[in-house]
Symmetry: C2
Subunit: 145 residues, 2 copies
Amino acid sequence: MADADQRLEQMVRGLREIGHRITPQRLAVLKILAESKDHPSVGMIYDQIKKEFPTTSLATVYKTITVLKELEEVLELGFADVGSRYDGNRPFPHPHVICTKCGAIVDPQFSNMEKMAAEMAKKSGFNITHHRLDFFGLCPKCQKG
Amino acid sequence: MADADQRLEQMVRGLREIGHRITPQRLAVLKILAESKDHPSVGMIYDQIKKEFPTTSLATVYKTITVLKELEEVLELGFADVGSRYDGNRPFPHPHVICTKCGAIVDPQFSNMEKMAAEMAKKSGFNITHHRLDFFGLCPKCQKG
DNA sequence: ATATGTGCAAATGGTTTGCAGTGAG
DNA sequence: CTCACTGCAAACCATTTGCACATAT
């Protein structure tokens, strides 16, 4: 998990740079986000943290994520039906594949979106800064079930 | 607006087929969705409708949209920050370009996503059924402002 | 020492629901 | 005539906020 450690350091550094303190609760949130590859919801993070710090409040988790979003150290994936999921491991735009049955979210390798973004910018006159690409379907497991 | 008329007919037909009634309020929602190219929110639709039917309730708008979603006669675009927007004119997956300042949403022409979807299916083992592709940036107007 | 962070509880805001009355088919 | 639809208000639920206390720096 060397890359998760690096992500964690990066997050801590970012918070310190803008004058934020590193509390144990906050560190626990950062750890979960830096390590997880399954794009957890706030609730999932909260449940996880309560094992370590039973008194931690949901509000603290939300507040921490808000700061990380501002720092662009976490990527928010909002869904109309199922709320928001977070990716602290790869906090930059990249494609996702979402199972419409069990809700699993995975990162496929690949994709040169930059080329397509440039094309869109040209055609629309927009100054494109970021993007989002999601594919929906049934994961291998749910195809059998 | 010939294609909007066609969309409207298609929607009405769809509703009738599953035994739903066509009330004036409902028809007003359908019209707005079939005609608009600006991806309105529920609130925008509601405001629009009140001009014609001042007593119409928000709940009715929501309920109608829920049915249209089931029929796949309207495409829902959920955003984490700004809620959901709806496209009844082209209710199938297609790319969108969203202005991060004024919230405008436009449909660029183009895109062969099918190829990319097939690639994703192969790599992930998922059975891909649909997708979503959004580009974010500043629209020409907001680049000046 | 001194603000920032925490935890709790209350507030918010978009969306959904329950239900009695209304109206499309 | 009937049963689905409407409108209203209440319920929901994820997220946000206010505030007194705790604590990282």
